[in-house]
């Protein structure tokens, strides 16, 4: 075949703009046209953000929004990912120093949810397993750290170092919980799996609530110590924010590399047609368990950090809403795609905080505290809207970098 033909189809396959609009697709016949189209599409989001940022509420929100704008710009703009990552990294490291405690708390939440989203995305986005009980793993991690380190349970570990020991332990524990839950249910069809995992999430919460002897029940666990790094105590939201941030980068890196390997390909095949994947030699149960375990491990790690940040955990922290928040940000942001997850975390976790006391007064509609009170209303509507209008989410998964470069064909080895 003509090399140029395959090259241009390769480009087309790699171009995220392709998914964005028909207009964009047509304009892409010329390079400048494409640029214009892309700019038009991407400009909308920052503008929206700026408009929102100039809105009525003011506790330093502009910083949060500045990040949102710049990061989204970087994320959307960069093709190689490198530019975006550098800018993103710089912003994420620099901005918290400019913030007050409240805003740092928001940054922590965004990062934590992004971390959870990266984990759940492995399960839902990569392997196509709808898990509505993700909170179970988050809870296992949080309670493991709480129970091991809190003084009310003896605090058997050396408080200064226990965090770094418990973190991997919790990840392993959560992975094991994931496998234990997964073994019986992974033979189930997708929608059954959703309900059963939801059930597991609830069971875990009910158990924590009722096993007073072990977990202190609804009263919760208090005085959970902060981690130390060397001799510094990581006590404030900024320090722990950096811990989560590091976690996000490691998790994202690992997740994307796995996705781009034989393992990720097997997941994608399972998502497309499980029986056929199996018929091509993929041990579907094992691969689904793998996805479950990885997702669970990340969730468990997130739980440990959460526990350390909060200093106290209660069963009510681990209700269905957590699972739904994480699922919503994965789906709305863009399934199967870490950038989408980050965008989703910013929009779904950050935006409601920014709009916490934002009010709408149009004609006879008066909605106060939009971000605080109506976030779940909006999540619900957004899930429906995204499924109907943009099933791939706001930032759809880019076609994987093709493993195949046209140059490979030029010197074929003799098939053996």
């Amino acid at each position: 075949m003509k090399g140029s033909g395959s090259l241009s189809s390769l480009r087309a396959a790699l171009d995220p703009g392709r998914y964005w609009s028909r207009a964009g697709e047509q304009l892409q016949t010329t390079t400048s046209g494409a640029a214009v189209a892309r700019f038009g599409q991407y400009a909308v989001l920052p503008l929206l953000a700026i408009a929102g940022g100039l809105g009525p509420s003011y506790f330093g929100i502009r910083w949060t929004f500045a990040i949102l704008v710049i990061v989204m710009y970087a994320l959307l703009r960069s093709r190689s990912g490198l530019f975006g990552m550098v800018v993103l990294g710089a912003m994420l490291v620099y901005l918290p120093h400019q913030m007050d405690t409240f805003e740092r708390g928001i940054m922590f939440d965004i990062a934590l949810y992004a971390l959870l989203g990266i984990g759940l995305n492995v399960v839902v986005g990569y392997a196509g397993l709808l898990d509505l009980g993700y909170v179970a793993f988050f809870a296992s991690g949080a309670y493991l750290y709480a129970l091991i380190s809190a003084p009310q349970f003896g605090g058997g570990f050396d408080v200064g170092t226990s965090f770094w020991i418990v973190l991997p332990m919790a990840m392993v524990l959560a992975a094991l919980v994931g496998i234990a839950l997964g073994v019986p249910v992974l033979r189930l069809r997708g929608d059954y799996l959703a309900i059963v995992t939801l059930g597991f999430g609830e069971i875990i919460r009910i158990m924590i609530n009722n096993q007073d002897g072990v977990t202190n029940g609804p009263v919760g666990v208090f005085a959970i110590p902060k981690p130390h790094f060397g001799s510094t105590e990581l006590s404030g939201p900024v320090e722990l924010y950096f811990v989560v941030l590091a976690g996000c980068f490691v998790a994202a890196f690992a997740a994307e590399r796995i996705r781009d390997s034989r393992v990720g390909r097997a997941w994608e095949a399972i998502r497309e047609d499980e029986d056929v994947a199996s018929s091509m030699g993929v041990n579907t149960t094992a691969y689904k368990l793998m996805a479950f375990a990885i997702g669970a491990a990340i969730g468990g790690g997130g739980g440990v950090i959460y526990s350390a940040k909060q200093s106290a955990v209660f069963p009510s922290d681990f209700n269905l809403d957590v699972s739904i928040n994480v699922l919503a940000l994965v789906i709305i942001g863009g399934m199967g795609n870490v950038r989408g997850v980050i965008l989703g975390a910013m929009l779904l976790i950050g935006l409601p905080e920014v709009l916490r006391d934002f009010s709408i007064n149009i004609a006879f509609i008066h909605l106060d505290n939009l971000g605080a009170d109506y976030r779940l209303v909006i999540f619900g509507a957004a899930l429906v809207a995204v499924m109907i209008l943009r099933p791939e989410g706001l930032l759809p998964a880019r076609r994987r970098q093709a493993q195949f470069e046209p140059a490979d064909v030029l010197e074929p080895e003799v098939a053996t």
Partner: protein, 303 residues
């Protein structure tokens, strides 16, 4: 012995509610192969409609006292109307566009609808539960140690009535035959001249009517309506539908009673706080060991 009878009666009471709601899951699953995650919220909306209706009568008239039968009937009918309307709207907006989409899409959409309805009601009620006016005397028939509230008797009888009516509807009416035909094979049914869209809407409507009515009666039974009240019964009813073999109408009925009774009995052994766990464990066990249901026939998994 009397204790067991009491447990049985309590089980039948709640089981009737599960059975009636479960029919909605099973019917919709039958025609669309989709779990209508928001079905429990229709039940919740029914309960709120019941509250607003009865409360309206309470405030502005004395009809609740003079002719409670009438006000209750009106409340039930309105509960059904509201639930049906909502169901038709959600079918049209949230599900129909996704009929040919990948399997997870309608499910996620349904989860969205469920979250949406629950939180709209949470806001609309300022997170306060609504307490039903006393329409039924909270008195009980007592036989030995067995206690049976009047409203409980009403609930039990009514669920039998609804189940019977639904059975007749499915078996005897043209619309019922159409539903069964679409459930069997949508494309063939369409070729035979059945209006599939219409039949799917009928299915949603029938399921919603049952859920709405169940909501009103259940609301009277537990005397409060809250935005979250549809969630657990919804999951339970789904469990009931699965127990009975999802897609099967008699199965859903039997599954509802089976689950209600199992739950009631389990409280004796594990305490009430583990009731929900029992239901989930049953659900998981059935899905794993008998995915075609306790009463259904085995089917080949792969087409």
């Amino acid at each position: 012995m009397q204790e067991w009878i009491q447990l049985l009666i309590d089980g039948i009471t709640i089981g009737g509610v599960y059975a009636v709601i479960a029919l909605g899951y099973t019917l919709v699953y039958g025609v669309l192969r989709m779990i209508n995650f928001a079905h429990g919220e229709l039940f919740m909306m029914g309960a709120f409609t019941g509250y607003y209706t009865l409360n309206g009568f309470e405030k502005h008239s004395s009809l609740n006292d003079s002719v409670p039968v009438l006000t209750i009937a009106i409340a039930i009918v309105l509960g059904m109307v509201v639930a049906v309307t909502l169901a038709l709207v959600m079918e049209r907006i949230a599900y129909r566009p996704l009929r040919r989409a990948p399997r997870l899409a309608p499910l996620i959409s349904a989860i969205g609808v469920s979250i949406l309805l629950r939180n709209i009601m949470l806001r609309a009620t300022n997170a306060q539960g609504k307490v039903y006016p006393k329409v039924f005397p909270r008195t009980a028939v007592e036989i030995g140690e067995i206690r049976l509230l009047y409203v409980q008797i009403f609930l039990i009888v009514l669920s039998f009535v609804f189940l019977g009516l639904l059975y007749l509807f499915i078996q005897r009416t043209k619309a019922g035959v159409a539903i069964r035909a679409v459930a069997e094979d949508r494309d063939t049914a369409s070729l035979m001249g059945i209006n599939v869209d219409r039949t799917i809407m009928t299915t949603f409507a029938v399921g919603a009517a049952l859920a709405g009515a169940a909501g009103v009666v259940y609301g009277m039974f537990v005397t409060t309506a809250t935005s979250g009240m549809g969630f657990i019964p919804g999951i339970k009813a789904f469990t009931a539908a699965v127990l009975g073999g999802i897609g099967s109408v008699p199965g859903a009925m039997a599954g509802g009673y089976f689950l209600g009774i199992s739950e009631a009995i389990s409280t004796k052994f594990f305490g009430a706080q583990y009731k929900d766990v029992v239901a989930f464990v049953l659900l998981v066990a059935v899905l794993i060991f008998r995915p075609w249901g306790l009463f259904g026939k085995r089917e080949d998994k792969r087409a």
